[in-house]
Symmetry: D2
Amino acid sequence: MIIVMKPTAGQAEIDHVVEKVEAVGCKTTLLEGTNRKVIAVIGDKRDIPPEYWDTIPGVEKAVPILTPYKLASREVKKSDTEIKINDQVLGGKKIGVIAGPCAVESQDQINFIAEGVKKAGAIALRGGAFKPRTSPYSFQGLKEEGLEYLARAREATGLAIVTEILSPEHIDLVSSYVDVLQIGTRNMANFLLLEAVGKCNKPVILKRGMSATLDEFLLAGEYILSHGNPNVILCERGIRTFETHTRFTLSLSIVPHLKLLTHLPVIVDPSHGTGVRELVAPMSRGAIAVGADGLILEVHKDPEKSFVDGPQALTIESFEKLMKESGAVAESIGREI
Amino acid sequence: MIIVMKPTAGQAEIDHVVEKVEAVGCKTTLLEGTNRKVIAVIGDKRDIPPEYWDTIPGVEKAVPILTPYKLASREVKKSDTEIKINDQVLGGKKIGVIAGPCAVESQDQINFIAEGVKKAGAIALRGGAFKPRTSPYSFQGLKEEGLEYLARAREATGLAIVTEILSPEHIDLVSSYVDVLQIGTRNMANFLLLEAVGKCNKPVILKRGMSATLDEFLLAGEYILSHGNPNVILCERGIRTFETHTRFTLSLSIVPHLKLLTHLPVIVDPSHGTGVRELVAPMSRGAIAVGADGLILEVHKDPEKSFVDGPQALTIESFEKLMKESGAVAESIGREI
Amino acid sequence: MIIVMKPTAGQAEIDHVVEKVEAVGCKTTLLEGTNRKVIAVIGDKRDIPPEYWDTIPGVEKAVPILTPYKLASREVKKSDTEIKINDQVLGGKKIGVIAGPCAVESQDQINFIAEGVKKAGAIALRGGAFKPRTSPYSFQGLKEEGLEYLARAREATGLAIVTEILSPEHIDLVSSYVDVLQIGTRNMANFLLLEAVGKCNKPVILKRGMSATLDEFLLAGEYILSHGNPNVILCERGIRTFETHTRFTLSLSIVPHLKLLTHLPVIVDPSHGTGVRELVAPMSRGAIAVGADGLILEVHKDPEKSFVDGPQALTIESFEKLMKESGAVAESIGREI
Amino acid sequence: MIIVMKPTAGQAEIDHVVEKVEAVGCKTTLLEGTNRKVIAVIGDKRDIPPEYWDTIPGVEKAVPILTPYKLASREVKKSDTEIKINDQVLGGKKIGVIAGPCAVESQDQINFIAEGVKKAGAIALRGGAFKPRTSPYSFQGLKEEGLEYLARAREATGLAIVTEILSPEHIDLVSSYVDVLQIGTRNMANFLLLEAVGKCNKPVILKRGMSATLDEFLLAGEYILSHGNPNVILCERGIRTFETHTRFTLSLSIVPHLKLLTHLPVIVDPSHGTGVRELVAPMSRGAIAVGADGLILEVHKDPEKSFVDGPQALTIESFEKLMKESGAVAESIGREI
């Protein structure tokens, strides 16, 4: 860390900063610049937030040198993490596609979709049983009934089941039915939930908070890793910007950037990330081309009748087409789907 | 609601839309524009999200006319809601200031600050016992021990106690110690938590999500109201934008805008909203001048030693100064502090 | 257009709105909703901004139905516009790559790069002679000397020349040397410059303003089209968001969205759009996969010695690799590079 | 500046960086951290952008210590700059209010408004003659005819005249009629225009670019100052964020932050900054409370008939009320209006 002193800071203030730095077990070197004095701090104390140092009299700002996360970092683990999802693996050469409806609505609906997406090449079935909805007046999901439908769809097709979890109290219930837990964008910074899934052994898909920075996203992953669960899959799902032509701005550049910094697999959600059906297929191709390890997509029997999030859902037919086109792109970069 | 048809939509598609609209109990009027056909939908169905209609073949977009919230709206309740916090009232002529440290650290610390802020005119004491922290390696709060310290500080000073609540499972515990529950920015869309506090009878300070729109913020309030708790205080605390000179962008314009649309009281948090100590006092004056009903501020015994969020915390001395200056601004607009 | 009246609006206010609408030559239909009265306006008057109507007493808001642009729209011209750049064509099956240094520095430098990028398959050479720089103390470009070097590089290689133009007064000078004019992100809303290039016959690359919406971007294109120049190439180059891991957020979803709405070709600038060298190649592949008609890339002889914008520049060797990889992606979607 | 090396950087790469740093006349100190080597650069070279250093092999990032601007900085000039506008002064105890219509429409209109705002206490009259409009089909201003009307309104009232300038070629014409030149938000990074007004001797109101950071804003001011014109007035006018309840997000926190960093006066434009008439008066009070040196406001004879930007314009009556209320807030912080 580098501590930049104010131009007005005197020797007493510098001595005081040095004392505080040494008190946490680090060493210092004083640099006398042309306009500023700067104190270089030597030692790995990334658990102390840089803001701590800003409060000391005479300090202008503290600049961290190290990343705030460790376990998620490639510096700690160089090779790509591959995550087992039942008999499939996410994070290797094969790009894994997870597909299904936004919300589970009935046994018929979920079986129909499960069979359709399996035939088209999906490795897992997604479906919401507990739905976080912006309005208290909107449909909130079938809850345990929905989980039962999902489990039966797994029996029928062999597909692993992915569902969103909203609260630590639901972990036992949800885990008894499904194979992969999903943390939604609105819960990326629900740290008690991150801790709770960190203590269980199911793979976790962690969706990026819609206003999370890259560091905050990796720190949320670090929460899960640091509580003992190594099976974290990061998912870019669109960020909130001034753009209104799409519901969110799908930030594909974070995918290759994450792949440089972390060993964890990274997938992309073009359905929520755009909210526009016509954009789901091209953005799926784009996600693969930039290096995503997987996709998570909304597919519906009849998008028109979907209880929630219809405008971005694909039919089975358009999903089949998307899989074919995406497969061609995957091959062009030496991967498969 | 207005449903705009695509230029290519034919009579069959229009008939189909009309049928679907009538199926939910609304009436329609067809408008033949120069370039587009438009279907006006008559009836109050704000529980159906506009996205639902976008999925129907031939529809270009659906434009809602009504606000998505009801109970929070001034159309439902014209007069300002005043909320009792022990022997004080928030939302009337008097501007209520809530102050205290980011995190409770010891009995001495919290008593010292409680006495200081009480003397300077605060109506309640804030202090974090359960802290949501971006890094798993940061200090997470004293938990129940912190609640005990807060309760003793109330005994000593008579100040009402405000603390953040992170999970529905904590409600009984936290409610047994404190007077006002606070929902943090990272939990504004934790709908299970909103429901849970909606079922209890304590006043709730609802902080705006850092990327929440005005509608989403009011819908989060609507969650609490619709579960039976009328005592909701809205709090602007800074939004995430491209600006980096402050930690967040404190959006003061939402204060008078909320006051037009809702009867609920609105307060402002200039400490988290800026993250820069020198800006807390001017932004407090600004918040009052634009019409805020209160402030929530970080005050510390010795900001340099604070475990968390030091750079934005005031000393007792600077808090006293802030209260005097803010009081003058309050008077200039016909209010008091 | 739809005019929504306030719940408090009476008959006199409605009559007044109807009168004003008829005064501009449109017809009206009154819709009596459950909670609001709404006036549907029939007629194509997209030159009147919706804000105009908001000012009339009793009006809550005016909602436009038509897009604000016409000439740029696919409603006016269905087939893709192909633009001739000397002996090459942009906008067809072939994806055109424009490459070169951020700033022209010397004849040797520009010739070396021109030959390198031509060999690797570029269709045009870019190079800045007039550089818009954030700091007045930074290198501002070689000006006319730079244009001369570019023209000689064209003689040597046959590549068309693309350069940025900063002011209407420079049009004659710059046009006498180069083949394609580029409008930078900071000038997308410099309407006098848009008018000026609209009156000349050179193809224009219009970069998206870093905070321009899709509509504003197309309206900037409309400025050029409406002054008589049909040769407009739209370029996504990154928007300003809260993300700091990249210099801007490259919004690839606007590419397929633009392709739905406009007949104009769309290219992408992954160099400025990310500002991170390691991300240029993956984002180039992503741009092609989502449907871009071309790329504009920074390539340098020795990025380390570049006067400006070094961190995102490729060497000739990495550009060759990028072209090969991008070519494979292009083929996978039925195009070529 | 601090140069952080990659964990993989070897001695040869460090030597190479040191060589490059010394080549520009700076000195270095090597710091051996626990996980990284860091090179501290001593010497004031803020004309070299930090990105330059990022390109050198082995460098992870370069962190600047000094601000990129000089002349605008309080480090160079401690006391507040006061700027003469005819017989008035901006930047002292008195808060200067500039008011007038968005666009000049006729002699009668501008005289009526000039007299109204003068009586209510404005120090200058604003009015647009050359209007930058998002759509090519919108009214673009009366041009020189508008300037003549403005000059006659000055004769009639004695008010100084403020108008926007769009291009270097207009400087002689516009300067011959008006007293203060305004650079609009879309031209804040039109560096040729900044240079041109930097060479003239009229005071300049520089509006913040809608996506400009604090540093970029001050660097735009530095352009004007460094070309010889010391009379720069900075104006916050709203930034582009995800918020849609207002047209822009008026970022009041930049006002006290600028006042800490620069000696230049800072004013606020609540009319464009919100785009909502009901918010103009409260945000004017807020701007004064946070320390603005002035306001620039849209006032219209009859907002309903305004050619442009009606929804945010005040009538003379509401402007009088705003001035009274704002005056009370000004007094409460020891200033006057």
